[in-house]
């Protein structure tokens, strides 16, 4: 297969970005989107391009930087906005699990980083998502010390409760929900953590405190508000639903009332 790739290039956080277009051929249908980018990078390096060469008039800025790691849909590192959708045209996948057979041969594909005020660009398609870590540091945990736990079967948890908690815990922290939301809200991300822990007896004692602290941190870091467009759940690679946002709102309200 062959494609024209229109890719966002940005030297660093302060530089102004621009699009560059490259042609690529000989791509296997079974290649993943990121494998296709690997091949493009091999091509760009062979052409002898790099950010220094571009200042001398070379036609490309050299290999494209993008975050990636596990390549099996679980680490959440990949963060590409492809043809106007977070993680591209397939449903419920991360970019690494998007395969070229989903594109038309000869198509022009536009590739951008996840865009959000809270995710500044580091370089090209790489963004800084450390705001997510900060939200979780505000309360996304259960305060148990190592070694303090009782026998694991002492507190029973119903099968369905555990499964529902797991549905929310599946979040990979990629940020597709934020990139998709017109308000740049991190509600689905926050809800997934709050809900997963709130559904378990171990998470109950801190449930209210957790919801309040995480929402406050989210607001402080410049994420937008939720206006229930539900776009996030459509693009979530793990299919996490907005039901969890409803649970977050309940926990948050209960916390406010008990203040």
């Amino acid at each position: 297969m062959e494609f024209n790739l229109k890719i966002w290039r940005q030297k660093n956080a302060k530089a102004k970005g621009h699009f560059e277009t490259y042609h690529i051929e000989g791509i296997e249908e079974d290649a993943s989107f990121l494998e296709m980018l690997d091949i493009l990078n091999e091509q760009l390096i062979r052409e002898g391009c790099d950010p220094v060469a571009v200042e001398r008039g070379c036609k490309s800025s050299g290999p494209v930087s993008f975050d990636h790691d596990c390549r099996e849909g679980i680490c959440g590192a990949c963060s590409l906005y492809i043809d106007g959708r977070a993680h591209g045209p397939d449903d419920h996948v991360t970019t690494c699990q998007l395969f070229m057979r989903h594109f038309k041969d000869g198509a022009t594909i536009t590739v951008e980083p996840f865009r959000s005020a809270a995710f500044p660009v580091i370089k090209d398609l790489v963004v800084d998502r450390s705001a997510f870590d900060k939200i979780l540091q505000a309360g996304g945990f259960i305060s148990v010390r190592t070694g303090a736990a009782q026998d694991a079967n002492n507190i029973l948890i119903s099968h369905d409760q555990a499964e529902e908690s797991m549905d929310a815990a599946a979040c990979v922290g990629c940020g597709a929900c934020v990139a998709t939301c017109k308000n740049g809200s991190a509600m689905l991300f926050v809800a997934a953590r709050v809900s997963s822990l709130a559904l378990l007896p171990q998470g109950r004692p801190e449930a209210h405190r957790r919801a309040k602290a995480m929402v406050a941190k989210m607001d402080e870091l410049g994420f937008g508000n939720c206006t229930n467009t539900r776009a996030c759940e459509l693009e979530c690679p793990k299919g996490i639903t907005v039901d969890h946002i409803a649970r977050l709102n309940r926990e948050f309200l209960k916390a406010k009332f008990s203040d």
């Binding site: 030297k11 791509i27 296997e28 079974d30 290649a31 494998e35 690997d38 091949i39 990078n41 091999e42 390096i45 062979r46 002898g48 790099d50 950010p51 220094v52 050299g62 290999p63 990636h68 790691d69 596990c70 390549r71 099996e72 849909g73 679980i74 680490c75 590192a77 996948v93 699990q97 395969f99 370089k123 800084d128 450390s130 870590d133 979780l136 540091q137 996304g140 945990f141 259960i142 305060s143 148990v144 190592t146 303090a148 736990a149 009782q150 026998d151 694991a152 079967n153 029973l156 948890i157 119903s158 099968h159 555990a162 797991m166 815990a169 599946a170 922290g173 997963s196 559904l199 171990q202």
Partner: protein, 648 residues
């Protein structure tokens, strides 16, 4: 220098050793812990759990990872589960049985005392994880559910769908976040360790590159813990994440830490087969699938021919024409033999011409019988997400046609040599999790990697490191403005300058692929003397080619992924050669290491206990010099050493 290999195994009965060691260890008082700094490199299960637990104890911890967040470490990708000797199933499991299975599964090349301790603390790991809010699978009664893994005859594996590693890591990461918020741990994401700094023979810090700015930064501490995982990516194609690397381990090795059993690499039998040259990464399908999936190839070569030409489908081949070769060869364990055995059996059938895809390198993993026996709903609950993942990647549905699988590099049992306290041969330097060599011998059992990472991080290192630090609290913090830091940074700078200065014509990946081919062909599933000698020579040649012709674009002071890869590849050359050397020395077949010269008439691995019942610990002797082999003899006092048998 063989006297450096003091394993510090406590005397006395096996089940008392850990208790005894703990009682001997000096404590550090809370006010003194505040004066002590610890560097933890890596944030997978081992690193994150260690950093969090040490922070809780009151030490000042600095934790480093190469990714944008600690949560992305490759432990996240572990699917199947975590073992623990809880005996919740009443199937006669016990600490002893988990210990025994692990020693036997490791083909009698692991230390008894270490493995027993691992089994001993395994139950507490599950308790800890449940308390952290990890949603393990539950029975309808609300109790924890279990499944089986290869090489065992009990059900002791706890799991959270096919995402157990993710859930356990998010638990450890949450504990780490709790400590970061409390101020006891400081996190340095997007930082890569590039050298270990030694002062007066002791580990005192690291040089790290800030991957965003490209600056080299210096960090000092009273002790350094390496938790950077394994070196499976030496093979280029593996199930490891793209950025997983062995560089921290190599830096420690070059600074004097012995490297143990490098040739013990695990080849996992159930990976999605290679689809073509454009591939960069192999995907694992969880071993848990072998609970209900049956592995087979056709009995008749003409059926193989038709399959390759897509004239028939697997489901059209009648039952009597299928060769369930694992059930045939190993009736007692069947499809649940250990990984090394299953991988070799797949290779044997494919080498004999029975591989079922175009490349001839695939066998079937079939669920049709399980779907009939258990029904669609039950199978979906157990393996639904794995089926989905397989279909996403291959565009073929395991509900209709069997999966195609083939072995791939997955895990490395070898690693930095450590004593019972997990301290390396360099005082103050510790190695935990996959980065050390200690618990899995020649082959690791399924669902034991997660167990070891968390055992080391939550329950072993927080105790044992106290023994060293209890003598250090009066020592002032080491300045980073001393000669040792200057020299280490200068050496790193010289490496970077050299790589950026070559500006040849070949890409880093194209050379790494060549290294991978040498490794897979000659240091892979079957190894012989001739091939291993060739591999050593070819790696040296390739390294020369790399230093003459590689093109690392860009500069140092920017986000530069090609430079990161080039620095890691330098270290993969070192490990690749060391693996080949170790494999050449170990002329027995053992666990994941199969020497063609050492097999039974039936083609089973033949161990040589008389000559190789030892840990091979290699000492670096300098660039272009042969490393020196030191031997730590393995003594089995509590277990009878037998030939591994999964047939009866």
């Amino acid at each position: 220098m063989a006297d450096k290999l003091i394993s510090k195994i406590p005397d006395g009965p096996l089940e008392k050793k850990w208790t005894k060691r703990k009682s001997e260890i000096h404590l550090v008082s809370p006010n003194n812990k505040r004066k002590l700094d610890i560097i933890v490199v890596g944030t997978g299960l081992g690193g994150a759990s260690a950093a969090a637990s040490l922070g809780e104890l009151g030490y000042n911890v600095k934790v480093f990872c190469i990714s944008d967040s600690p949560r992305r470490a490759h432990s996240i990708a572990a699917q199947g589960g975590i073992n623990a000797a809880k005996n919740y199933q009443n199937d006669n499991d016990s600490i002893y049985r988990l210990f025994y299975d692990t020693i036997k599964g490791g083909d009698y090349r692991a230390r008894e005392a270490n493995v027993y301790r691992l089994a001993e603390v395994s139950a507490a790991i599950i308790d800890q994880c449940v308390a952290q809010g990890i949603p393990f699978a539950r029975e309808y009664g609300g109790y924890l559910a279990n499944r089986s893994f290869g090489g065992v005859q009990v059900s002791r594996t706890f799991y959270a769908r096919g995402q157990t590693g993710q859930q356990l890591l998010l638990g450890a990461y949450a504990s780490l976040n709790k400590e970061i918020a409390a101020g006891s741990v400081k996190s340095y994401p997007r930082h890569e360790m590039l050298d270990l700094v030694i002062v007066n023979g002791e580990a005192k810090g690291i040089i790290a590159r800030n991957l965003v700015t490209g600056q080299l930064e210096r960090f000092s501490a009273h002790a350094v813990i390496i938790a950077t995982g394994g070196y499976g990516n030496t093979y280029f194609l593996s199930t490891n994440a793209m950025n997983s690397n062995g560089s921290a381990a190599v830096q420690c090795y070059k600074k004097g830490a012995y490297f143990a059993n490098p040739c013990f690499a695990q080849i996992h039998p159930t990976c999605i087969p290679v689809h073509g040259d454009q591939q960069c990464k192999l995907t694992l399908m969880s071993e848990s699938l072998r609970n209900d999936g049956r592995i087979w190839v056709p009995k008749k070569l003409e059926d193989v021919e038709k399959l390759r030409k897509h004239e028939i489908k697997a489901s059209q081949i009648p039952e009597e024409d299928r060769d369930y070769y694992l059930e045939r060869r190993y009736p007692a364990f069947g499809n649940l033999v250990p990984r090394d055995v299953a991988s070799r059996a797949a290779k044997e059938r494919c080498d004999a011409g029975f591989g079922v895809n175009e490349t001839g390198k695939a066998v079937f993993l079939d669920f049709s019988e399980a779907i009939q026996r258990l029904g669609h709903k039950k199978v979906a609950e157990r393996y639904g997400n794995l089926f989905e993942m397989y279909e996403k990647i291959t565009a073929s549905s395991p509900w209709e046609e069997p999966m195609m699988i083939y072995p791939a590099i997955h895990y490395t049992m070898g690693g930095i040599w450590v004593d019972y306290d997990l301290q390396t041969t360099i005082p103050g330097l510790y190695a935990i999790g996959e980065a050390n060599f200690s618990d899995h011998g020649g082959n690791r059992l399924g669902a034991s990697a997660l167990m070891q990472g968390l055992a080391d991080g939550y329950f072993v290192i927080p105790v044992t490191i106290g023994d060293y630090l209890s003598k250090k609290f009066a020592e002032p913090r080491t300045s980073t403005d001393i000669a040792e830091f200057n020299e280490a940074e200068k050496a790193v700078q010289a490496r970077i300058d050299r790589l950026l200065g070559i500006k040849g014509t070949k890409t880093v990946d194209s050379i790494h692929k060549k290294l991978g081919n040498i490794m897979w062909d000659k240091v892979g599933m079957a190894r012989d003397e001739k091939g291993l000698k060739e591999a050593i020579a070819e790696i040296k040649e390739l390294k020369k080619d790399f230093y003459e012709n590689v093109n690392v674009p860009g500069s140092q002071y920017e986000f530069n992924q090609e430079l990161e890869k080039a620095l890691r590849l330098e270290d993969f050359f070192e490990i690749g050669e060391l693996m080949a050397r170790d494999a050449l020395n170990r002329s027995e077949s053992c666990g994941g290491h199969f020497r063609v010269e050492s097999q039974t008439e039936e083609g089973e691995a033949k161990r040589d206990d008389a000559n190789f019942m030892y840990v091979a610990a290699w000492e670096y002797k300098g660039e272009d010099k042969e490393p020196e082999l030191h031997k730590e003899p393995l003594k089995y006092e509590f277990i009878e050493v037998k030939t591994r048998n999964y047939k009866e």
